[in-house]
Amino acid sequence: MSEHVVTPVKTYVFVFVALLVGTLLTVLVSEVDLGWANNIAAMSIAIVKALLVLYFFMELRHSTRMSALTAIAGFFWLVLMLVMIMMDYWSRHAIVLPVPGK
């Protein structure tokens, strides 16, 4: 039979509290005008929260390498799609210099 590791309740509760703090933090930070850093802060907190869920609640820390690899591949592909589609939008208004007097 498969061996499983039983995570102590304490760990779960700790992660839970961390997630709640993260939520509170992200709301508070958004109230302060930090310019472009608002975006960075909000996304960073969201990524940390997501990692906490993945690592503890979804038991990535106890699962096989294959599961971890699958999860990483999924997020990697998402980033790939975002970046390569945005590449078009970021460069669309780049100035195309005319060929001088032809």
Partner: protein, 362 residues
């Protein structure tokens, strides 16, 4: 006249030769590799054909150098072609500073072209030879694509934004203008002509087109701008939603209910405002009313145009593939005998519409 069985398109812009060179070299490379592979297969097939049923193939020989070779060679070829191709591409999409800007608007299913001088035409583009032209593209509805094969250039017209392309024609003549991006029912009719003229001819053409248009010319404009032309196309024998109006005016028209009427001013007027009252035999009652969309003045202009299409208003139509109608050709006064416009009759209803801007010689 064009050959009836051409295998290579006209090449008529400063850059079409560049694209062709790239294409021909690529084709030769492709041909080389196709022949190489096919030849190898044929040779190996006959050389190593199975001779007796239990025979098996030889052990694999180590081939890492071969693998590297045949990864590196295609990679090198492709990077070289990429570099060359990108150079051509940037030429194709970076207009020179002295390009004259025209505007082309795609709408289902026609191209409206606006000259910088304010002149506008439908499904036709008259330009002087040797002048770099930049075309700013827009679309009123769906995505269209402005495509002139002879110039090897194409650009989608995307609704909601402007795109552009440019070219510099080198050879007078009449070239296809296609819509290349599928845009609905009449996509394949959203075609026209690019008429490249000697600068002198172009001057004459411009001079003839700008000032106060005749009733017939204005009617012809309305005929296209109201999209009458999409159903009442001037190409006899082709299945379409509405009857062709050529030679109709003044003749007897058979109706769907068996009656016959004479196509006179009143009939044409009624057909525009209340189309379902007297439907021509053989056609479905699908025409929408234009009540409220055309003013009285425009109505008379439209009628004048339809009259000009009638047997009394114009010379008989040309043969297959010939000049659609004399009425829709530019007047001979404006036409040089050697002008490329002589060839203009080669095809397409689109051209008819474009040229229809010009008043017929009466």
């Amino acid at each position: 006249m064009k050959s009836t069985f051409p295998l290579f398109p006209d090449s008529a812009s400063t850059l079409s030769g560049h694209v062709d060179a790239l294409f021909i070299v690529w084709s030769l490379v492709s041909l080389f590799f196709t022949v190489l592979i096919a030849g190898l297969i044929v040779v190996l097939m006959s050389r190593y054909r199975r001779r007796y049923p239990e025979e098996v193939g030889a052990d694999e020989r180590a081939g890492i150098w071969l693998e590297i070779l045949w990864s590196a060679v295609p990679l090198a070829i492709m990077l070289a072609m990429f570099t060359w191709g990108t150079k051509v591409f940037f030429e194709l999409y970076r207009p020179p500073a002295d390009a004259v800007e025209y505007t082309a608007i795609g709408k289902q299913w026609m191209w409206k072209v606006q000259h910088p001088e304010g002149q506008s035409e439908i499904n036709a583009l008259h330009i002087p030879v040797g002048q770099p032209v930049k075309i700013k593209l827009a679309s009123e509805d769906v995505i269209h694509s402005f495509y002139i094969p002879a110039f090897r250039i194409k650009q989608d017209a995307v609704p909601g934004r402007y795109t552009s392309l440019w070219f510099n024609p080198t050879k007078p003549g009449v070239y296809h203008l296609f819509c290349a991006e599928y845009c609905g029912t009449e996509h394949s009719r959203m075609i026209g002509s690019v008429i490249v003229m000697e600068p002198r001819d172009y001057e004459i053409w411009m001079a003839g087109g700008t000032p106060g248009k005749s009733m017939v010319a204005s009617g012809a404009d309305l005929f296209t701008s109201l999209a009458c032309v999409t159903c009442h196309r001037a190409s006899p024998g082709v299945t379409q939603r509405g009857p062709s109006l050529e030679g109709v005016f003044g003749s007897q028209v058979k109706l769907a209910d068996g009656r016959a009427v004479t196509a006179d001013d009143n009939y044409v007027r009624e057909s525009i405002l209340n189309p379902l009252a007297k439907v021509v035999a053989g056609y479905d009652p699908v025409m929408p009313t234009f009540q409220g969309q055309v003013s009285e003045e425009q109505l008379t202009q439209l009628i004048a145009y339809v009259r000009s299409l009638g047997p009394t208003g114009a010379a008989p139509a040309g043969g297959t593939g010939g000049t659609p109608t004399a009425a829709t050709n530019p007047s001979s006064a404006q036409m040089d005998a050697t002008s490329p416009l002589v060839n203009a009759g080669n095809t397409t209803a689109g051209q008819t519409q474009g040229a229809a801007q010009k008043p017929p010689q009466k």
